[in-house]
Structure formats: C-alpha cells, structure tokens
Amino acid sequence: MFIFATIAVFVCMVLLLVRLFAGRSMYDRVLALNTFGTCTVLFIGTVGLASGRPDFLDIALLYALINFVGTIAVLKFFRYRRLGDAPEDAEMIQSTHDAEASN
C-alpha cells in the first residue's frame, strides 16, 4: 500500500521536474520548487512507513521547515531583489543618513 503511495509521489516529482525544466515563467519554477519540497516530505514519510520505520516522520518534518524557509528566501528575493533588509528598512537608513549629513 505504502509502496504504491511512494510510486505515486515519485510520479508527481517527475512531473514537477518537467515543469522545472520547461518552466514558462519564474513563478512556475518557484511554485514547482516549493511543491517539490512538499513531495520530498511525503516521499520520506511513505518510504519510512513502507520500510517499517515510522520514525522517519520526524525527519520529514525537518525537511518541511527547510522547504518553508527556502521558499520565503526566494520570494523575498523576488520582492526586494535583496535578502538582508526590506526597502522600508533601506529608506529608514536613507533618511537617518540624510539627517546626519544635514547636521
């Protein structure tokens, strides 16, 4: 039963790979990468259950966390074109810099 689930998840991953290779727009690719991470989590879970080791589920949870942080980083890069600070932050720095310069 779990073996069939694993095969189904793997087929999903192959389809996502096709989307990543062909990728019409960048957003398609970001979505495909995020879904690929989710499929990784599912794959680890089903492989663990199929081989009789349900403790793999804890590891799958960690992968979900990594996937979440990675997607946030990619989307932040999209929005601001940088990773450290947001434009509001930069504007605040700019205004303080101007204030210091005028003083």
């Binding site: 790979l17 990543l20 794959f43 450290g84 600070d85």
Partner: protein, 194 residues
C-alpha cells in the same frame, strides 16, 4: 524496492544535472540546484544514510540556494555565451569521475557486514551502550557521549557559521556604506512586471 527507487532517483539526478548545464537563465539554475540537492538527499534516505541526507538538504537546498540568489542579486541574471567551447573542462570532469569510480572498487559492498566500519569498533558500542549510557538510540549515544568532545567542536563550528550567515544577510557592510537610492523598489517592481 530499494534498488528500483535508487535507480529512478539516479536517473532524475542525471536529468537535473544535464538541465543545469543547458539552461542559461541563472535563476532557473538555482531552482534546479535546489532540486538536485533534494533528490540527492532522497537518494541518501533510500540508502539509509538519514543524517547525511539531512546535511545535504540543509546545505544544498537551504543555505547554498540563498547564497546563490544573493550572488545573482549582485551580478548578472543570465549566463554569457562562451566565445568558443573548450574540451579541457570535459576531459577534467571525465578524468575525475573515472578516478572516483576506480576508488570505489576497493570499498566494501553496500551494506556489507564484513566492512571495517561494522567489524572494528561498532560491535563494542552496540554491546556497551545499554549498560554504559542506557539510551535506546545507539547513534545518539555515540554522538553525545562517546564522541562528546567531537560533537562539541561541531556545534561550535555550526554556531560560527550561523553567526557568519546572520552577519552576511543583515547587510552590515551596506549599512555602514552608501545606502540604496530612493525609489529603487518601485523601479524594480516595474522590471518584475515586464
């Protein structure tokens, strides 16, 4: 089942690597290298090396994708077409691969009970863990107690790496230097829409 999944995952890995070579848009290449790491991690999990797999996913899929995105933000977003193709890199890659495959010829078979790792010191850990430390997971006992100082050193390394990443991403250098020009985010959004 394990062998079948190993072969399928290897095929997907090779396909991803070939796609990375041929795609010119660097953003897509970063996405694909993240997928490459996730596939490699799955391969390690199918082969029962869960800890190695987690390191691969955290480093390859997590932090190196972020670092490469930061690099793209600072440089160009498409790959330049080389003026002429050279065969030297291909030869070096093939030679290195051949040497690595030659190196595996002396290694014990996958999962072999006769491997030195299984015969040298492993049985002693397995025999002594229940009386010495009394935790159900022997790997935990080895990492946290028998090799406690080694693990402490690793934790220091990870802590230092984390501090370095925080310093890199928080833009300490930029804050001291010239700030961004005004209205930069509006222009960038228009670039995005196009």
């Amino acid at each position: 089942m394990e062998i079948a999944f190993t072969i399928l995952l290897f095929i997907a890995l090779v396909a991803t690597a070939i796609a990375i070579v041929f795609i010119k848009r660097l953003f897509a290449v970063v996405m694909l290298s993240g997928v490459f790491s996730l596939l490699a991690a799955l391969l390690f999990i199918v082969m029962d090396a869960v800890d190695v797999a987690f390191t691969e996913a955290a480093v390859g899929g997590g932090i190196s994708s972020v670092l490469m995105l930061g690099t793209i933000a600072l440089t160009a977003r498409t790959q330049k077409q080389p003026e002429r193709y050279s065969l030297v890199p291909l030869a070096i890659v093939l030679l290195t691969g051949a040497v690595l495959i030659y190196g595996t010829l002396d290694m014990p078979n996958f999962g072999s009970p006769d491997a030195p790792a299984q015969r040298h010191i492993g049985p002693e850990y397995i025999a002594r863990t229940p009386t010495d430390i009394d935790v159900p997971n022997i790997v935990t006992a080895v990492l946290a107690s028998y090799r406690g100082y080694d693990t402490l050193g690793e934790v220091v390394v990870v802590f230092t790496a984390g501090l370095g990443v925080i310093l890199l991403l928080s833009g300490l250098g930029r804050r001291r230097g010239t700030p961004y020009p005004r209205g930069v985010s509006a222009n960038r959004d228009q670039d995005n829409a196009q």
